[in-house]
Symmetry: C2
Subunit: 444 residues, 2 copies
């Protein structure tokens, strides 16, 4: 608690719904909630919703940050009795039905945990300190800042080993984020970087994609994996499946096999863990996710729900819970938004049923893979069009759709990625050379 501040949420006779997180889950929940029946209070640590599937394009200079985000106050500014607070929720007291923040305590009738997930480093603190996760806009801009600086420094170093290391990039985890980032980097290497840095030899730049399982895109079909791997290898991405990262010291990635890879930049997308709220009973948490019943209600609680990445709902189709993808969060948010009044009125409600609309991943220009409903698997240009269309369709707001669309047409025609600004002062603390140069350059 910080003295002198309080949450200032008006008293109400309506039931109060407290939502933690304005991601896909929280946003779609509010869209469907009958806001005349409830008071809604949303908490988030960012003042904007992030369209996470396109973060990798912000990191690789394809898009501007504001194009894939929507201010959370703005989205519902026309709704009555909707309140946003830019605060982290610290804990819940299930017995008292209250949540705790630095600005004080708030009682709730319904609490919805939609806090999503963050990178899982599996306890490896070195990797956590030295690699780049890609889950938030500041993280994407930090990676962009790193990418735009390693080549600058590669151009002026006299140490050939350091030069090679600065130009190499290792991506750990070959899910959609790893695959899409690898593809975007391969295109930067082919079309953009050689023009920007004529002094550097980009045939010597290596992009490694390291995956623990036996295939890339392990959550997609075998067909998609095979096609994606073929495309990546055609684009000269070095794909290493069945490979586990054992350690990273900021310079050298050590694999479990004993093999080492020299890379100044490591992007970590090897797994996520739910952003769990403190105060929940430990037996309602499993593998970093909150166990919920078929109504999204947290096991062992009354009036607390969890949706999206942070929730784990066991079902016959998904014995270990649903995959941590946007569609699950969207559908759970929509389900809960439509049904919370029914829960409140104790009316019968059908259990949540996930409709798998399929999975997509883009690898590059005219290259994508898609698993569609009805066991339909496509690749290449048709899959790429589907990918483009779906991503535009799900972006928040017409302005964002238009701006992203224009950026993509522009990049497609010009083979350029124009958003290469270093606007975050990121230089890794262990990078002595980078730090020294940044210091004299007065990096802001």
């Amino acid at each position: 608690m910080i003295a002198g501040i309080s949450l200032n949420i008006p008293d109400t006779t309506k039931p109060r719904v407290v939502i933690i997180g304005g991601g896909f889950g929280g946003l779609n929940l509010v869209k469907k909630l009958p806001l005349k029946e409830f008071q809604v209070v949303m908490f988030d640590k960012h003042n904007y919703h992030t369209f996470q599937p396109l973060l990798y394009q912000v990191a690789t200079a394809g898009l501007q940050p504001d194009s894939i985000a929507g201010p959370l106050r703005n989205v519902f500014s026309d709704k009555p009795d909707y309140h946003f607070r830019l605060l982290k929720v610290l804990s819940v007291n299930c017995a008292a039905k209250t949540i705790e923040t630095v600005a004080g305590t708030l009682s709730y009738d319904y609490l919805i945990i939609a806090s999503g997930s963050r990178a899982n480093f599996f306890g490896n603190t070195d990797v956590q300190k030295l690699s780049f996760p890609l889950k938030t806009i500041p993280e994407a801009l930090n990676l962009r800042s790193q990418l735009m600086q390693v080549f600058e420094i590669a151009g002026i170093t006299n140490d050939p080993a350091q030069k090679a290391r600065l130009m190499n990039i290792a991506l750990v985890g070959a899910g959609p984020t790893g695959v899409e980032t690898a593809g975007a980097l391969a295109e930067l290497r082919k079309y953009v970087l050689p023009k920007d840095y004529p002094d550097l030899d980009f045939t010597k730049m290596n992009i490694y994609l390291i995956e623990g399982s036996s295939r890339v895109l392990p959550s997609m079909s075998e067909y998609a994996s095979t096609k994606a791997k073929k495309s990546l290898e055609k684009m000269k991405v070095i794909v290493k499946t069945n490979s586990f990262v054992d350690g990273y010291d900021g310079k050298t990635v050590r694999l479990k096999s004993g093999e080492t890879i020299e890379a100044q930049t490591v992007v970590w997308s090897a797994g996520v863990t739910g952003d769990i709220l403190a105060g929940l009973a430990l037996d309602s948490i499993e593998h970093g996710r909150i166990l919920v019943d078929h109504h999204c209600e947290v096991l062992g609680t009354k009036g607390i729900y969890a949706i999206g990445d942070v929730a784990s709902m066991e079902s016959s189709d998904y014995p270990n819970g649903h995959p941590g993808v946007a569609q699950v969060a969207i559908q759970m948010g929509t389900y809960l938004g439509k049904n919370l009044l029914n829960f409140h009125l104790r009316l019968p409600v059908n259990p949540f049923k996930y409709f798998d609309k399929g999975s997509l991943a883009t690898i590059g220009r005219n290259k994508a893979v898609a698993d569609l409903p009805g066991n339909l698997h496509i690749a290449g240009r048709p899959a790429w069009y589907v990918w483009l269309f779906i991503h535009i369709a799900y972006l928040i707001g017409f302005r964002n759709k238009l701006l992203v669309f224009i950026n993509w047409i522009w990049s497609y025609i010009t083979y350029d990625q124009g958003n290469r600004l270093i606007i975050r002062p990121f230089i890794r603390k262990d990078d002595k050379l980078g730090q020294e140069i940044a210091l004299t350059n007065e990096l802001e």
Copy 2:
């Protein structure tokens, strides 16, 4: 000097032109230079050119940062023997004809100082530490981050004096930057903020515009000043002319008159000073600018030129040098780019002559003032169209023109400013409450 790095500029038989700064001056210089005749090396601390006249729109959530910038490597990537280094030039040795960087020494045949200007705090270190200048993109994003956070905190504080202070904004200096920022803030207050923060009473938010001289826009016509002041006051900006800031402690602005203004946010645009290169003779520097002759050559030197804000060229029309505006930098850059080969070949060259295309400032929707050539002064909607057209026309690159154009149309139709993301972790160090909240929110 940092060990292990060097500039790695290839040796050449052509004369080497070293340019410090990729602003309006440096950029237009390279555009016009016959690049077959020279080797060109450009140094800048940013990897992008900034379109400074629109920085205030990035700060006030109207535009995205990448839309008003162009990567400096990219702009000339088709030019032979053009080299960019993301490094600060530390000093010049005029006798040896070399410049110094942390990556080593470089000889030049021609050195062009186009380093521009930075905020001048006139020795007031408190103001320097606690106020927001608006000369670079990181500075604009820091101001945006501050603006998006003061209202969040105002909504949760229990101290009425603190709440009032958090909502007030003082702008010091009523040149174009101060006037345009004041207008943009007044529109945010009118159209955007009350919807975003329904709990706050925006009739209590004060915007102060403080100017030392007797009128706003002192560099423009009396007509423009009068019209601009009337528009600003109609938009409820509190204009204080003949007022000098004596001090600021992070909470209270003290004026020389003894009057005080409570404001958590102070934007400083009260003056600039040239970014002077160390190593020049002291008698070639006056009032923070480098004295140049009518060929832009620095007085007392051979082969060193200065252009734009950092240069001061005495002439009958401008006895104290030209105004520090984009047009002067553009025209000097163009002049030098066209004539450097003639200087090199010792051919006769006409002196630089500044053609004043006029001055513009926008105050808000359909509101602007313009002093045009031929002593033509206009205001209101026609001036606003001229302003829009000129700013689009001078933006670098078709993509930027298009993106800014769409953002403007969007804002015009919706009365919304969509780019409200907090993407820089700015919280002022003396702001204890803000720091504490940021800490628990894990502000990235």
